[in-house]
């Protein structure tokens, strides 16, 4: 299934849920904040959140900043 993560297309290899999409995309899901189609999905709901074809996922986190 094709999804869009941080502006780039990605083919999901495993299950079509958000937890897996994040696992397949970044090595350290700790402190990751995710939005699906503009809506924030809290980490406790990632496993049960089913993705649809072409869903737009934003993965953000904290970085150094003034």
């Amino acid at each position: 299934m094709k999804i869009i993560i941080n502006g780039k297309e990605k083919q999901l290899l495993g299950p079509n849920n958000l937890a897996n999409a994040i696992k397949e995309s970044c090595t350290d899901p700790e402190h990751v904040i995710s939005e699906v189609n503009g809506k924030i999905i809290r980490s406790e709901n990632w496993e049960n959140f089913s993705l649809q074809e072409n869903d737009k996922i934003e993965l953000v986190t904290f970085v150094g900043g003034g």
Binding site: I33, R42, V60, F62, G65, G66
Partner: protein, 268 residues
């Protein structure tokens, strides 16, 4: 002689800084950008007893793995999420909401810029964002250009502090806006935190001497050859400036005024 450096509150009649019911005993706020090493950032925090740091929110770079900055910030330190990168109120509000929704608290530093050369904060958009986020229950610390009317609007909008720039962000120019910051210190009944442009410990001390409630420093520390030494120097300077403010320095005079008694000379 007593050592006042480690605990000035015991020696001087000072009140802690209170922002939205949270007590800060340390008036030195640290920005976490531009550090070459996250370990050094962590050491700076630990060596200076920093109680609040700013962090920014960005898209994860999926191509490379980087350790998260939050791993290096002790849990006891308050996170102040900076909306840097926002070009208008709407974008700043989105960043604040994402952070809160994700469970990282409701403290936000509003930083809105849409000028890429001078990086000056947009006071109008900042006031709009402050009003909306304050109503939603955020503790809003707006970074602003030191303008009295804008500061009054921020107070009305529910800001928890006002954070005027000292000079261009990241410029190390110090308190170029000194006179206008003094106006805010005199007229605004909220903590005034000088943010941006402070390039040396003496400048930070001076900001505190004139009555700022706290200072926020980032670039001058993060880009120094030895950030830990510089952070400690800033920490001492902020404390020194605060003590000088509390002790009420005498006024400048434009002629000589002898320090020794002017009588009882040996040749009299």
């Amino acid at each position: 002689m007593e050592n006042v450096r480690n605990n000035p509150a015991e020696n001087v009649d000072d009140k802690p800084l209170i922002i939205a019911d949270t007590i800060f005993n340390n008036r030195f706020f640290l920005g976490t950008g531009k550090f070459k090493s996250k370990q050094e950032l962590e050491t700076c925090i630990k060596k200076t007893g920093i109680e609040i740091v700013t962090v920014a929110l960005r898209r994860i770079d999926l191509e490379r793995h980087e350790e998260n900055i939050l791993e290096y910030i002790p849990h006891s330190v308050k996170l102040l999420v900076n909306t840097s990168g926002a070009r208008n109120a709407e974008e700043a509000i989105r960043i604040a909401r994402i952070s809160k929704e994700a469970g990282y608290g409701n403290w936000v530093k509003i930083e809105i810029m849409n000028d890429s050369k001078y990086l000056l904060p947009d006071n109008n958009e900042t006031i709009k964002a402050t009003e909306i986020l304050s109503k939603e229950g955020f503790v809003v610390l707006p970074y602003m250009f030191p303008d009295l009317y804008a500061a009054r609007e921020l107070v009305k909008a529910g800001a928890a502090t006002v954070m005027p720039l000292g000079s261009f962000i990241g410029s190390n120019q110090g308190l170029k806006a000194e006179e206008f910051i003094k106006v805010l210190i005199n007229e605004i009944d909220l903590p005034i935190i000088v943010d941006a442009g402070i390039g040396s410990p003496s400048q930070a001390a001076y900001a505190m001497e004139i009555g700022a409630d706290a200072v926020l420093v980032n670039t001058a520390i993060a880009t120094a050859s030895d950030p830990v030494s510089i952070a400690r120097a800033f920490s001492l300077a902020v404390e020194a400036g605060r003590l000088a403010y509390l002790g009420k320095l005498p006024k400048e005079k434009n002629k000589g005024n002898a320090s020794s008694p002017l009588s009882g000379f040996l040749y009299e």
